[in-house]
Amino acid sequence: MKATVGSRVFSNLVLAVWALIVLLPLYVLVMVSVKSPSELLDTSLKLPKAWMWSHFSDAWEKAHMGSAFGSSLLITATSLLGVVLASSLAAYPIARAKSKLTGFFFLYFISGIMIPFPLTMIPLYKLLKMFHLINTYPGVIFIYIAMTVPFSVFLYTGFLKGVPRELEESALIDGCGPFRSFLIIIFPLMKPVTASIIITNSLTIWNDFLVPLLFLQARERRTIPNAIFSFTGQYNSDWAMIFSAIVLGSLPLIVTFLLLQKQFIKGIVGGAVKG
């Protein structure tokens, strides 16, 4: 079927309008963050006359972005490592050894997919207090791992079921124990799923606001969204400062995404469509 000229114009118009709607707020975000206070009152979309790059260093210091970057990086990396290890290990016997035990635990994990975080947050508050985990890194990391294990186990199990057993069986004959064959043969095979899990969950954890808002209030441990949130409380309506902090906090993920777009898109689709 050949597209008519009219339909091609319409199609390009729709695509362009949505691109504009997506980009305009991002453009304004960057412009406001580099405009001087006097120029901010000029609300047109013109480029600023003077680029106030100093806003970024100001915001970096005043919003304590340095320590926030450290916190976000530590929490995201450790949680991802935890969920990848815990769920790939758990998926191995579930996919390979059919028994009442593994069948039960598969259902047990899967049931967690349906549980929304707000349902657990109040008892979690009591639990973390009891273990003295409020305002500590391990507290939020354990929560993130527990939250992401169900779907990750599901993805790993689904993938492993489609992998032929011959490889491990020959390893077993060669005298490889189950842990070694997991480490040397199975884990490397599951790389596509691991990539998917890392990409989708790094977005969720890096950008999450609610868990640290509840359990990680101490200034020196705040994550990026929470550092920006409390900074906004202090610099109420100093838009240039607030937007500079937002630009700084959002850059790492956007740059990573632009560099690795193919892997990102594949990872996100892989994580979603299997569900």
């Binding site: 109040i122 169900p150 920006i228």
Partner: protein
């Protein structure tokens, strides 16, 4: 791997973390919803179904439930119509199309917090880009207090949410579209299928799995919406945008009504569960038919 001991050992780390930090708190919720715990005192009193009785007559809960449904319905319908349309237009080769796919996905990389602030500025009645632009094109009379006026605040938040997640829905639809074998379209062409017929009888049935995933993601995500609303309006003006999750947060952590808050959380859980089960029934049924 044959021995149950080895199997258990492999699953142990996941079992321990999952049980401690998800399952026990979930079961705990059912218990706390039957108490009047205030979050501070070590003392927890059992009050039976009192919280649930209060909840039934609490107009704020009903309003939050209604708001949550309106938010979820608008987001799900509008976002899926928009992203399916854009995905259909993007389903071809070329650098421009690849470039646009990436552009559309950028908002999904930002935190809801960042997006909330950017759009709060956009909707600002004085400085906001929307009103300024309306003014510039001579439509100044259309300018509104987009977030401050209860007539518009819900729609403004809904649009922001769609702005953030449409790119994600698009790539999921595209994955479905690209899996459709080309000869099916050619067969359709020979049969003289028109554009709309082709969509109804070939494309739409074949992207059913992508459709299911997208609808589920947007419904479940929007039923528990918190960050965006909390940052943009804190549920206001009045209760105009208060979702169940925002109400539950306020009750539990601003007013120290932890027991009552968990009761609201339980209601929210069953609402989400019921809707997802119904959804899956309908959508999966459609997939099999196709």
């Amino acid at each position: 791997m044959k021995r149950p001991g080895t199997q258990l050992l492999f699953m142990l780390p996941a079992i321990v973390l999952f049980t401690l930090f998800l399952m026990i708190p979930m079961v705990g919720s059912f218990y706390f919803s039957l108490t009047n715990w205030d979050g501070l005192s070590p003392h927890v009193d059992y009050v039976g179904f009192q919280n649930y009785k209060t909840l039934l007559h609490d107009s704020e809960v009903w309003i939050a439930l209604k708001n949550t449904f309106i938010f979820a319905a608008l987001v799900t319908v509008l976002q899926n119509v928009l992203s399916l349309l854009l995905a259909l237009l993007l389903d071809k080769a070329g650098w421009l199309v690849r470039f646009l796919r990436v552009v559309y996905l950028i908002p999904a990389m930002l935190s809801a917090l960042a997006i909330g602030y950017v759009w709060t500025y956009f909707y600002n009645p004085v400085l906001g880009v929307i009103n300024v632009m309306l003014d510039n094109i001579g439509l100044g009379a259309w300018a509104q207090d987009w977030l401050g006026d209860p007539k518009f605040s819900m729609y403004s938040v809904v649009f922001t949410n769609i702005w953030q997640w449409t790119g994600l829905s698009i790539i999921i639809y595209l994955a479905g579209l690209q899996a459709i074998p080309h000869d099916l379209y050619e067969a359709g062409d020979i049969d003289g299928a028109r554009r709309l017929q082709r969509f109804r009888h070939i494309t739409f049935p074949l992207i059913a799995p992508a459709f299911t995933v997208n609808i589920l993601i947007s419904i479940i995500g929007s039923l528990k919406v918190f960050d965006l609303i909390y940052v943009m309006t804190k549920g206001g003006p009045g209760t105009a945008t208060e979702s169940l999750a925002v109400l539950l947060y306020k009750k539990a952590f601003n007013f120290n009504e932890m027991g009552y808050g968990t009761a609201i959380a339980i209601v929210m859980f069953f609402v989400i569960l019921a809707i997802s089960v119904i959804q899956l029934r309908i959508l999966r049924g459609r997939e099999i038919e196709a």
